[in-house]
């Protein structure tokens, strides 16, 4: 053993910190159109050469190029753009509402709108999504009423989940939106179970699972990959790599040594690494993955490269740990602007229409807010009655909870 220098612990550090610009060369960005599109029945391991590359469709001018161009109907893309604008307006409003202390907590998806919304447009409405707290875009794209979303955020008397959970932890089975857990990773493996059930029953519905880059370190990620691969479950395993997990950059989650898409191939799952701010790439990759699932060809893991444009949550202050202008310098830009440019280029969107739509979504959000607030807010105390706290622990209330409900009524 003599002759070896002392060992040293490597602790990954982001290149950028407050006051020090980020070197984005770590991102490994492929030119638009450069990555091959394997057939949907590709052997999983044969996606190995592309998981280090980046599937992109929109070039710098906004043209759709290459094998992944989904050839999407402009009407669909316009729906996508509108959903993104609506989501962004919604987020902005709710952020204000939180500052006004009308809601207790909020989490935006600023900058990452394309991934959830693009995938929602590639799925059937009855496919089940297992979202994270940052996939409100799916609900918006699927037409869940904004008012219902807001009532959840306000924890008010019309909150569909009765004030049980923190804001943004939506649940709507009718809209194929599985209850957000709060515990990172939780739903990722449950999605695989749901997909297995669909296969066991000979159904045709598939599942869409969501997880953040940071959360891939959780056991649930591993369990999801193992079970999905072994049983070839009809599920899309979405990893949203928005570069940050609260204050820790994606290198701390293991993004330095290999891309997150590589994890999929490592488990025998067909995988893609995709520009998540390129709406057309999102649509195309989601369709490819959905087609694989629906044809019983098994799971697909997609790493979406995007950027968390805002703070982690209203409890967070990112200026403490990352350069203030990092988002502006992010090489993949803003999904809204990029889709807008593309649509303008193909003559399906104009500046006037953009301005008009911005106004429309703003008004839609405002109207919803007015209605939601008419049902009360947490601060105003218009919440579900305290006695409802004892419901839904079990299907039927057991004796001990009836007793406790009685005691609570009597402030015992």
């Amino acid at each position: 053993m003599s002759g070896y220098p002392p060992l040293e612990l490597h602790v990954p550090e982001p290149s950028g910190r407050p006051g020090r610009e980020t070197d984005f060369s770590y991102l490994k960005v492929s030119p638009a159109g450069a990555v091959r599109r394997p057939p949907v029945d590709v052997r999983p391991i044969e996606t190995e050469d592309i998981v280090d590359l980046l599937v992109r469709v929109l070039d710098d001018e906004g043209r759709a190029v290459g094998p992944w161009d989904p050839g999407a109907d402009p009407g669909l893309l316009r729906r996508g753009l509108r959903a993104m604008l609506l989501t962004r307006a919604f987020d902005a409003r709710m952020l204000v509402a939180q500052r006004q202390k009308k809601i207790s907590f909020y989490m935006q998806c600023l900058g990452e709108e394309a991934v959830g919304i693009g995938q929602a447009l590639a799925l059937e409405p009855d496919d089940m999504c297992f979202p994270t707290y940052r996939q409100q875009g799916i609900l918006v794209a699927r037409g869940y009423p904004l008012v219902d979303m807001m009532c959840q955020l306000y924890s008010n008397e019309r909150d569909p989940i009765k004030g049980r959970q923190l804001p943004v932890m939506y649940s709507s089975k009718a809209h194929g939106f599985y209850s957000v857990a709060g515990n990172l990773g939780m739903g990722f493996v449950q999605a695989v179970g749901w997909a297995m059930a669909s296969a066991i029953k000979g159904d045709t519905r598939i599942a869409s699972a969501w997880i953040g880059d940071g959360s891939t370190a959780e056991a649930d990620f591993h369990n999801a990959l193992t079970f999905a691969a072994v049983y070839r479950a009809p599920v899309i395993l979405n990893v949203v790599n928005n570069q940050w997990a609260i204050s820790s950059f994606q290198g701390i989650a293991g993004g330095e040594a290999a891309t997150f898409a590589t994890r999929g191939v490592g488990n025998g799952i067909a995988s893609l690494r995709v520009d998540g701010n390129d709406f057309l790439a999102v649509l195309a990759a989601s369709r490819w993955a959905a087609e694989r699932a629906r044809r019983n060809l098994g799971p697909t893991l997609v790493e979406w490269i995007t950027y968390r444009g805002g703070a982690h949550s209203t409890a967070d202050d990112p200026s403490k740990y990352r350069p203030a202008d990092e988002w502006k310098r992010f090489p993949l830009g803003d999904p809204v602007e990029r889709l807008r440019r593309h649509l303008a280029l193909v003559g399906a969107w104009s500046d006037e229409e953009h301005a008009r739509t911005l106004k429309e979504v703003e008004e839609e959000v405002l109207a919803a807010q007015r209605e939601a607030e008419s049902h009360g807010t947490l601060a105003s105390g218009h919440v579900h009655d305290a006695s409802t706290m004892f419901d839904d622990v079990y299907k039927e209330m057991p004796a001990h909870l009836e007793r406790q409900r009685g005691q609570a009524g009597g402030t015992r």
Partner: protein, 338 residues
């Protein structure tokens, strides 16, 4: 009616439910082709095919996680954890996933799953094949925790659990799989066929959850217990000649408090027996409840006879196991106290 061991009764419950309800699926480590290390699923894959009964990777967290997703889809999964000692990798999914899904979604999604696992010692299994972690589940609201002590109850409770819309943690005292065990490890093993509680209907029936059974009526002292310890308590009562009323809880939580309170109010004395380590064991909750509800009837301190607060040792198994001598001594103390 036919005679069944506990293993057969448990298998029969799954067989009946697989046959009646297409939404029932059974899975776990080694449960498929092989039929389970304790043979509880033997023959079920051959009978119902692989999509209904299958092997899983060795990942208890994955097993519970996919069970929850299947439950949310609308199936009634019955998952086996090979030993209760190995449930911990699945604990997060049980506590943060299954137990709170109905609550956090206000009933929008539910997890009607049953998680079976062999528990308890007495088989020289050492610290990783002997644990009784039931208190780690009774503390978690939203779960039901069940532990039968005989073939009849095992089948009826397991069917009730599979049919239940709440997540159920179903403990199977492995020392009872092939015969009642009263703690006299040095005596010949008694087969189930020698006992009337091995008379089990072949078809569908349930033993309701949240109902305790008076295993042995008595007047001198109430024994609250479950699983293997029911038999140990009976031996202790027999051997000391103390007229103990032995209550087999069957459903640990939510539980049948009325039967408990009724009995202790009458006897005025209470001994709690379980195999799990003492501190913060389920016996603590029972003691707390009894003194809350029967304080003015109690004539002696409530006794707890339990596993010691150490990991389950291998070589010192019988010094650890709360056998009839220890239970008998507690019965004496409880009945002799002023």
């Amino acid at each position: 009616m036919t005679t069944m061991t506990m293993v057969q009764a448990i298998r029969s419950a799954m067989d009946v439910m697989l046959g009646r309800d297409d939404d029932v699926v059974v899975f776990g480590e080694d449960v498929g082709y092989f039929g389970g290390v304790f043979r509880c699923t033997d023959g079920l894959q051959a009978k119902y095919g692989t999509p209904r009964v299958f092997d899983t990777p060795i990942a208890e967290g994955g097993i519970v996680g996919v069970a929850i997703g299947m439950g949310a889809y609308g199936l009634r999964p019955v998952a086996e954890i090979q030993f209760a000692d190995y449930v911990y990798p699945g604990y997060d999914q049980i506590v943060s996933g299954a137990a709170r899904l109905r609550y956090r979604s206000a009933g929008d999604f539910t997890a009607p799953i049953t998680i079976r696992m062999p528990c308890g010692g007495g088989i020289y299994g050492g610290q990783t094949h002997s644990q009784s972690p039931e208190a780690l589940f009774t503390h978690v609201c939203g779960l039901r925790t069940v532990m039968p002590s005989n073939p009849y109850d095992a089948k009826g409770l397991l069917i009730a659990s599979i049919e239940c819309d709440d997540p159920v943690i179903f403990f199977e005292p492995k020392r009872l799989y092939n015969g009642p065990f009263d703690g006299h490890h040095d005596r010949p093993m008694v087969p189930w066929s020698a006992h009337p509680l091995s008379e089990v209907p072949e078809g569908h029936y349930t033993v309701p959850l949240e109902s305790a059974a008076v295993f042995r009526p008595g007047e001198a002292v109430t024994v609250l217990t479950y699983g293997t310890m029911v038999w140990v308590a009976e031996a202790a009562a027999r051997e000391t000649g103390i007229d103990a009323e032995i209550i087999d809880l069957r459903s640990l939580w939510p539980l049948d408090l009325d039967t408990i309170v009724g009995s202790v109010s009458r006897t005025g004395r209470c001994v709690i027996v379980h195999e799990a380590t003492r501190t913060s064991g389920f016996g603590a909750e029972l003691a707390a409840l009894v003194q809350e509800h029967c304080f003015y009837h109690l004539e002696a301190p409530i006794e707890r006879v339990t596993g010691w607060d150490t990991p389950y040792p291998h070589a010192q198994e019988w010094a650890y196991f709360p056998g009839p001598q220890r239970v008998g001594a507690a019965l004496r103390r409880a009945t002799e106290a002023a």
